[in-house]
């Protein structure tokens, strides 16, 4: 394969001979292209009488050369080229009408800051309005006017009750185990390993049980809410609901919030006890504490206030998870990508809001002396 060129009387003659398959000679390529730019040629001819086989690696050279020639206003005569090659090149230059494009401008820092503020403000109000909508739905629910199918509620209830039990049980058992293990190593130094039971019991019931359940359910159920409702948005089902005059908050959000609100406290209780059992496993196997003794110590440490505060956490987390999942589902974009984004945001924001709510509850308890 060979790419030769000569310039004669303002005319660039390009001679192609041999096969151009996976052609990769950069210096020859550059040479041709330079000629098109630099010299004062008026026309370009291509001699392809000895051209054998060719592929895109040849087309790309000719394409680039023609692009430059066009810019400089030099005519290129293609009629010597094989018909297929001519057709391909013409195809490459058949420009479609470009759709209008949203263009982004590089804005000043202050403008960007302002934009960020406005965006945060609108999303804050969007969230607030969403919560108000849901509250209205609850009002309609209690006055028996909400458009909610019991089937949807029971389906959600099923999904976040017994179907969630195995994973909840496993994780909280493990957390109890870890708490006990870490505690035991430290407490052993003082010969105080007997306090492992109280450590695990207080830790699990007051907060760890609820937090672990919250994280699990955010990843499991919150994400599924966002994905389900987001997909409904993509499929225009949410539009269909709206145009039927059915409030989305009644039909989609209410059953889900109700289901999590009801099941989360029970899941928290379950997690508390599984955690205590996990701690028991470590105490009995590692610290040689008798099972009855461990149980007695745990029950002594079990304080009703802590227990109820933990359950209250679970209840609040249930609402937070369901709201975050549904919110990002309802405001999902209209393609598959945005369902992924919605799911991620639902989980992350649920966890952030749970931590914030924990702070608020803890502070309130502190003030109230619980």
């Amino acid at each position: 394969m060979e790419l030769k060129y000569i310039v004669k009387q303002n005319r660039l003659l390009l001679t192609l001979s041999g096969d151009f398959l996976s052609y990769q000679n950069d210096s020859e390529k550059e040479g041709v292209l330079k000629q098109v730019q630099a010299s004062k040629i008026k026309t370009i001819d291509i001699d392809a009488t000895h051209l054998g086989q060719w592929d895109s690696s040849l087309v790309v050279i000719l394409f680039k050369m023609m692009q430059r020639a066009r810019k400089e206003g030099i005519p290129v005569h293609l009629n010597m080229l094989p018909a297929g090659l001519q057709r391909l090149l013409n195809l490459a230059f058949a420009v479609d009408r470009k759709p209008p494009k949203h263009h982004t401008v590089n804005e000043e820092f202050l403008v960007r800051l302002g934009g960020w503020y406005l965006k945060t403000q609108t999303s804050f109000f969007k969230g607030w309005n969403f919560i108000k909508e849901v509250l209205h739905s609850f009002r309609r629910f209690f006055s028996k006017k909400a458009v909610m199918r019991p089937v949807d509620f029971f389906f959600s209830l099923e999904d976040c009750s017994y179907k969630a039990l195995p994973i909840v049980a496993l994780i909280s058992f493990m957390v109890g185990l870890i708490l006990a293990f870490v505690g035991a190593v430290q407490l052993k130094l003082f010969g105080a390993q007997i306090y492992v039971a109280s450590l695990v019991t207080i830790g699990m019931t007051r907060i760890m049980g609820a937090i672990m359940i919250g994280v699990i359910m955010a990843g499991r159920t919150g994400a599924s809410y966002a994905a389900t409702i987001g997909t409904m948005q993509v499929n225009e089902e949410v539009d269909a609901l709206k145009t039927m005059g059915i409030p989305v908050s009644d039909f989609l959000v209410l059953p889900r919030v109700l289901a999590l609100m009801i099941t989360m406290p029970f899941l928290t209780i379950m997690a508390d006890f599984m955690g205590i059992f996990g701690g028991g496993a470590v105490s009995i196997l590692m610290l040689d504490i008798a099972p009855q003794e461990y149980w007695r110590l745990s029950m002594e440490a079990l304080n009703m206030a802590n227990f109820l505060v933990g359950i209250f956490h679970g209840f609040v987390f249930g609402i937070v998870i369901a709201l975050c999942g549904c919110y990002y589902g309802v405001f999902c974009g209209r393609n598959a990508d945005s369902v992924g984004v919605a799911t991620t945001k639902a989980v992350v924001s649920a966890i952030v809001w749970m931590i914030l709510m924990t702070g608020v509850i803890t502070l309130t308890c502190e003030v109230m002396g619980i």
Partner: protein, 256 residues
């Protein structure tokens, strides 16, 4: 007989944030018309439909449905307007967790006081209209794409609407199913006197069902042609429309 305007659009501007998609849209849809909204992909046909159905607020202009401005209407008026409208979405938009019967019963339960038994009969009737008699207990995932569209149509017809909107009814359908749907549209239009608004770029549909049309253009961001599609083909106002209506197969020569 002079036909009344069912939908009047005046100086409508459609925008996403600050990006103006379409502007200066003005047109009327008369009662009993089959009105076609044509335009290339991305020209904003679905966005216009979302505005006509109250799902999106326009940046400016007004949309009058039977004389009531949809933009300024209060919730009660809006509900009343929406009850008059049925919509067949591009994908059918059936609720996937419900059977066909439950899907169609939903608007009936929402807006009417029929008893459960009456609703059941109505649902069966609507399903029979669209050729899906006996499909009451099927889930949307158990039927074909063409059937889904027809079931969506049955739902759109549930409340005997005065206006039915269709978003690309023939998209994703084989020629025969799409032809069946066109026939169904004409049947509904002629037997029930329903006003029909169809977004489509299927040429055969445009010519066989349309009585009036507009062409939306993404470049000039407005209406490039307005009138009966057959007249537009005979007397194209500009090259874009001519190219569109002939699939770009013929050369445009301006009529002198």
């Amino acid at each position: 007989m002079k036909k009344e305007n069912q939908i009047s659009v005046r100086n409508l501007t459609i925008a996403y944030d600050n990006f103006i998609l379409l502007k200066d849209l003005s047109f009327d849809v008369k009662k009993h018309d089959v009105f076609i909204i044509m335009g290339g992909s991305g020209s904003g046909k679905s966005s216009l439909l979302r505005i006509l159905t109250g799902l999106k607020t326009p940046k400016g202009g007004e949309v009058l449905i039977d004389g009531i401005d949809l933009v300024k209407a209060n919730q009660k008026q809006k509900d009343a307007i929406m009850q008059k409208c049925g919509i067949l979405y591009q994908s059918g938009a059936l609720f996937s967790s419900m059977t066909l019967a439950e899907n169609i019963a939903l608007p009936l339960q929402q807006y009417t006081s029929y008893s459960e038994n009456d609703i059941k009969d109505l649902v069966s009737l609507k399903l029979a209209f669209v050729g899906l008699a006996g499909f009451e207990d099927f889930y949307p995932s158990e039927i074909s794409g063409g059937m889904k569209k027809r079931a969506g149509l049955a739902r759109a017809l549930a409340l005997d609407p005065e206006i039915v909107y269709f978003d690309e009814p023939s998209a994703g359908l084989d020629p025969i199913s799409s032809r069946l749907l066109d026939d169904l549209i004409i049947d509904i239009n002629q037997s029930l006197g329903t006003t029909i608004v169809v977004v489509t770029h299927e040429l055969s549909s445009i010519f066989s069902i349309g009585t009036n049309s507009i062409y939306l253009d993404a470049n000039s961001k407005t209406i490039l042609g307005h009138g009966n599609p057959k007249d537009l083909l005979k007397n194209p106002p500009n090259e874009t429309i001519f190219q569109f209506l002939t699939r770009g197969e013929k050369k445009y020569e301006r009529a002198k």
